[in-house]
Symmetry: C2
Subunit: 528 residues, 2 copies
């Protein structure tokens, strides 16, 4: 296998095709056949890509690219435990990538027996713990049941769980809410602590390494608030951490759950990082449905036919848009308020995975890797940044996400349609408006059109569908990383900032400004 995707025959062919891609508002292009042909379903989610700048030839060449780069085979190898978190010939993490094992729990023959076995042990511990909470045998230090949980974590220990909690809180158990503290900004913790009755508060401290600066600092802040109220924090805190980390088996936590080094933070939502919080909030049945949806999508992502594999199709259309057509960003726009933080999670998962410059053989990439990922919910965005999407000079490929039914079912007909119908109508209208555009005598009322988007549609955003949606994007990101032949599973790019932050902190501790380093120069300017 070549390490440079640009040298494959399929990539070269795509380069030629990209010189004259289909124009979405060319007469007769959009029509019934196209919408029917260019849509497919995996694990209950439908992908419609009729409004992408692709035709049958592009799709078949993307299939060739997938085949040449052995993408599906490598996905299966990942699930089976091949060590793919590595850079050949250089010091690297050298780990397996087994987030999919945490949900491969429904068959008697999981892809990776040991990792799934470890996941099942943790799930069993969780089940016991949740039963104890339900039956009241585990309570706060003054005997009150835990009516709220604080999740202390950052990055992968925050964005995934937070966005999924927000997505599914319509399904939460009565009298259980979850709050999140992530930022080292002390006001983040202060704002959460002012809202809660600590006697009834369970604290989950989440850090794989057990050494994350922000998390330990916030834990200290939160523990001191318990002490101030005369409560013993050790009777309120549980840990989610790597086996053997400094947080593991510490008397500071009355219960510990484990995560493993073969799961990166940004892919950890279906491990105990997400599962403890979701189990607490939604109950075990909803958690299992969530894991089931994710597993179903993982299985669907193994189809070697891209027209039957929506993660792979979404990934390769993304490569087409980013590398061949040259669009620098991709917007994820959910028409679903519950998904309001999901784009932020994807921004992390995608950009931390694929914002790389070195291939898995250590060579420097010669084409672009991951795009900038951003987005906010529609219809809100229609009243905000959509002006630029329609008439600006930057072209933004879009992934719309929508559902035909609401979560709460509290809806009303106004002017003959429900709110849910209005929501879906607006999503479809935006997709079509971007593709078709509109001519007009007044130049300010012209819409160039030919702006690409996809639709991802489900029935309702329940736990199972959320699991499928999460796994869809995880697999998309993995597939794009495979295509660029980069290591999507390390994050060396975050190290330099950590080192420099330590230097600033040393100065702030009182080393003074006599030093002539860049850091002291910057501090002088700021303090003047």
């Amino acid at each position: 296998m070549t390490f440079n995707p640009e040298t494959t025959a399929a990539w070269k062919k795509l380069g030629e095709l990209a010189e004259s891609p289909v124009v979405l508002n060319a007469p007769g292009l959009l029509g019934e056949a196209r919408f029917t042909d260019m849509s497919t379903v995996t694990a209950g989610l439908k992908l419609v890509y009729a409004t992408q700048k692709v035709d049958a030839q592009v799709i078949s060449t993307l299939q060739e690219l997938a085949d040449e780069l052995r993408l599906v085979e490598r996905f299966k190898q990942m699930r089976a435990g091949l060590v793919i978190n590595r850079i050949e010939g250089w010091e690297s993490e050298n780990r397996q990538v087994l987030h999919t094992a945490t949900r491969d729990i429904f068959s008697s023959k999981p892809r990776h027996q040991e990792a799934t076995g470890q996941a099942l042990v943790e799930l069993e511990k969780l089940k016991t713990f949740l039963n104890e909470l339900d039956q009241g045998s585990v309570r706060g230090s003054t005997g009150k049941p835990f009516s709220s949980m604080i999740n202390i974590g950052i990055g992968g220990s925050d964005l995934g769980p937070r966005s999924i909690y927000e997505a599914l809180k319509a399904y939460r158990q009565p009298d259980r809410s979850v709050h999140f503290i992530a930022n080292v900004d002390p006001d983040d913790a202060a704002a959460v602590l002012t809202q809660l009755d600590l006697e009834e508060t369970l604290v989950s401290v989440v850090s794989k390494s057990g050494t994350t600066l922000e998390t330990l600092t916030n834990e200290t802040l939160v523990r001191s608030a318990f002490v101030e109220r005369g409560l013993d924090p050790n009777l309120h805190c549980v840990a989610v951490t790597g086996k053997g980390s400094p947080m593991d088996n510490s008397p500071s936590y009355f219960r510990s759950f484990h995560m493993f080094d073969y799961i990166g933070g940004r892919f950890s939502s279906t491990s105990m990082v997400g599962a403890l919080m979701l189990g607490y909030a939604l109950g075990m049945d909803n958690l299992m449905a969530f894991l089931g949806g994710a597993n179903k999508m993982d299985d669907g992502a193994e189809s070697s036919d891209i027209t039957a594999n929506i993660p792979l199709m979404l990934a390769l259309i993304g490569v087409w848009n980013h590398n061949l057509l040259g669009y620098p960003t991709v917007a994820v726009l959910p028409y679903c308020q519950a998904l309001h933080r999901f784009p932020a999670h994807l921004q992390q998962c995608d950009m931390e995975s694929n914002g790389k410059s070195v291939r898995i053989d250590g060579s420097v990439v010669t084409s672009k890797t991951g795009p900038i990922v951003w987005g906010e919910p529609g219809t809100n965005g229609q009243h905000a940044f959509y002006q630029l999407l329609h008439q600006g000079t930057e072209i933004v490929p879009i992934e719309f996400i929508g559902f035909t039914e609401s979560q709460y079912g509290h809806d009303l007909q106004v002017s003959g349609t429900t709110s849910q119908q209005k929501l879906v109508a607006n999503m479809l209208a935006q997709c079509l408006a971007l593709a078709q555009g509109q001519d007009h005598e007044n130049p300010n009322k012209r819409f160039a059109g030919d702006r690409p988007s996809s639709l991802i549609i489900g029935k309702t955003l329940d736990p199972r569908t959320m699991g499928a949606l999460l796994a869809l994007y995880e697999a998309k990101i993995v597939y794009q990383g495979f295509t660029w032949n980069i290591n999507s599973f390390d994050q060396e790019g975050v190290q330099l900032g950590k080192v420099l932050a330590e230097r600033f902190l040393s100065l702030m501790k009182g080393a003074g400004f006599d030093d002539s380093s860049m850091e002291s120069e910057m501090l002088k300017v700021l303090e003047k």
Copy 2:
């Protein structure tokens, strides 16, 4: 004055300079003199641009561009009431742009007497209303004081107020909270309504036109919830709307506040759109401090010397990065959790204003207009998308925002420094790491560096500073629009989606699928 900025002498000179901009990690470039020279203060906020890819010659040429395009003069004309929301020779809104008048209330000689007079009338009405709430002469329909407010609005009637409320909620009065409903998604309203005791809930319905689909739909949903609980919604609802709109002087609202056609939604945070909500939550004194900070920045934005005018400097460095160096996006990264929704507001304000393709004379632009604006708070982002910022193939210019003191003052020393110090240290470290980069034997541990950013620093995020920060960005956006010679104040790009949404809704109402329109084809595919 030319309508095409590219034909100015300064732009041409910038084009030449952009062929070999300074390299931030060139030996000896970053140093004390640069940090001192390239920083300036306006209205209490310091801008440091030493880590942008500019030198003295670029800055003086940006000054020439400002002079050639008469940017400051045009800003003053805007504040004085010139009709600048227009496209010459074509049907357009033909309005003044007077958001600055809503805070030009502290001098005896406001720039635009009439608009400021109208603002003062509304502020007087608000003061009376807030007194009545404080004294208990205005209460809910069952005699209880209003302990929470729902703000129903979307776009400019939501994102600005919401982000400012989040930014300043540390200063809110005891027993007063604000909740926001924006999305036509019925689950948005449902999630808010489940949290509140409607007997104690005040509802503010915000729509300039009085006809916004989402807002009226959500108002209907909320009113029906009051009726279900046996409460009269008319005794709980107030309106913020344009004079003479369908919502104005309606018996459905027990009090009305006015906004005016010379203020666009995205610039309306200091009008009654933001002021009613902020006055309710924070009290009149904090509201006045907020308006005072904004006014001070507006005045500072009138300096013709760009090195003493941080909105203009930020705007022109943005043009340099976007048009001359070719970076398609800009990230706003506040090291302040309270500003977690501020990037979303700026995304709206900037992209809706400057995502345009036509100049103010109706000619089609030949250079890029507004960039894609995105961002999340640090330090959270460091554990998320910063990997791409440091080692990805997309270069993202950054605007960091930070404060030397926290809001709540609840902080602890951990490992010798406070959380607030850690927060600031991390921001400075990121700025420096992006500029300097790092060489390394291991290609995966190399950082190219030379990635540009600015620092915006204030003392603490209080109401006055928030007002200044808001006005800084409003003026930046206006200045960039002036530079590109586009109309930053209309939003024709949102119309086509509205028209097509109506067509989908007609079909959904039961017109059936016998029709052969594109809309019915799409619906067929989705419903299959």
